[in-house]
Amino acid sequence: MNLSSASTDEPIVGLEISQLLLSNIKTGVGQVISHIYEYLQPYWASRGVKLAPMICQTHPMRIKLTDAFLSDKGERFQPTLFVEPEECRAIILAGIDNGVDFQRLRTASSRNETPIVAVIYDLLPLQYPNFFVEGGFRAFRIYLQQTLAVAERIIVSTDKVKTDLHKLGWKLPKEVHVVPLGSRMSPQTPRLIGANQISILCVSTIEPRKGHDLLLEVFDLLTSWGKDVIMNFIGATGWMADDLIEKITGHSEFGSRIRWYPFADDATLRECALSANIGIMPSAGEGFGLFIEEGLSMGLKMIASDIPEFLERSQPNLYFSARDPYVLAETVLKIHETSWVKGHQPRSMRDFTYDLSMIVESVMNNSDVPPR
């Protein structure tokens, strides 16, 4: 890799960005890396700290691929901006990537006393191995073990993930901080649609654990009760989704009242949200489930499954339901009749990156993290 290093006296924080460049699908993880850079680069510049992109990979193929992607998407990451781990005063790892050169990071960290702050999104591949392809369990545990071994601080997005990490019984870094993610969507108000129409939006990759099959049952129930229902799915095909996709695309209402946008961009997402009135997140398990905050910021009343990682984020316009088609269908009817609570601003990605910056600054300065 031929990237010139930045030359500056400012303390440098390196952000490992390989996953943002390499991921073959648009993922929440890529978005988090992107937002950390977008928000913290100017914020820290104003505080005399330089946030710089960093690529620290072991495998020649991945380095080559990263170079190729950089030449395509490199306008945000000019080669002169890149730094090496050894130059950094702190390092942020926000990807889920076994290709990272953890050995080099650990050496740089211990030689230069460079703290590494790592984001761990969830432990789902360990908890629900049947929802992931064979090998995912072992690959994920190796990623997790490496990350925990190099990081001085860990960031998780929910209390549930923090509890799960402790339950593993593994050696954890000094502190595990809970810093919830947030919405990247700016606020909007849905158009007024017919008072009797129930227009549902679900944004999530199509995977068995996400609950799309449950929503199809809810659709059928509401329709059988004589309700005017539209069901919009936004999300790329995930893992082991063949049966599920067959169910969606094979439904008699597919293409009319049931719609699926596998490659939706943000404009399509906004347009779908404008013509919806309820967002549903019926997942069986999530690390976070960004669509809750995103749906709320786009003016949707949200219904989430009553799993711990969702329940801890209780806030106005967010309602919970058991993962049962009858209970969920009845909840949809009830929430459809409930008025929108005005004046609440859901948490944003800017809030997340600000809280992250406080933690990184505190480890650089060896001081306590101020309360959120």
């Binding site: 073959n24 699908i25 495998h59 392809v133 090998g135 190796i142 190099v150 082991m240």
Partner: protein, 148 residues
């Protein structure tokens, strides 16, 4: 009595009867399943090597004779030493000698017949070490980026 310890540069964690050791000095990875993971656990608990057999025989259904089982344990320990995973010259954990009968192996998998312990080395793990374990995998095989 011989007491071993895991080399300090190694990060070792156990889950569901499997231990993975990552050596941050050499960059090597090792996997240990079931009986092998149990011996690693005994080492990390600083139990004397000569007492491993006592603990093992209480937890497994042995089909081999005691001599053969002890030989398998010793060969495995020798392999660990040769690979630089463990080091000698440490003191036993306080109270271990008196309390050997109370030592119970972790109950994170179901034990039955004793199988000779083995080491999975880098070769069997290397495909896992170059990927994004979530987004590079597909049902058709992975890593996806390798195919592309």
């Amino acid at each position: 009595m011989t007491v071993l310890k895991i080399k300090p540069s190694i990060a070792l964690e156990r889950l569901d009867g499997e231990t993975i050791a990552i050596d941050f000095e050499s960059g090597s990875f090792f996997g240990f399943r079931e009986s092998a993971a149990d011996i690693i656990w005994l080492i990390s608990e600083r139990v004397e090597v000569e007492r491993f057999f006592d603990v093992i025989q209480r937890h497994f259904r042995a089909t081999d004779d005691a001599g053969s089982l002890i030989a398998q344990i010793n060969t495995f320990v020798e392999d660990l030493t040769n690979l630089g995973i463990v080091e000698t010259g440490v003191s036993p954990k306080e109270g271990t000698e008196l309390d050997i009968r109370s030592i119970s192996l972790p109950s994170d998998y179901e034990r039955d017949v004793w199988r000779s312990p083995t080491i999975d080395s880098n070769d069997s793990l290397k495909d896992l070490l170059t990927i994004d374990p979530i987004h590079d995998v597909t049902e058709g095989g992975w890593p996806d980026s390798r195919k592309n």
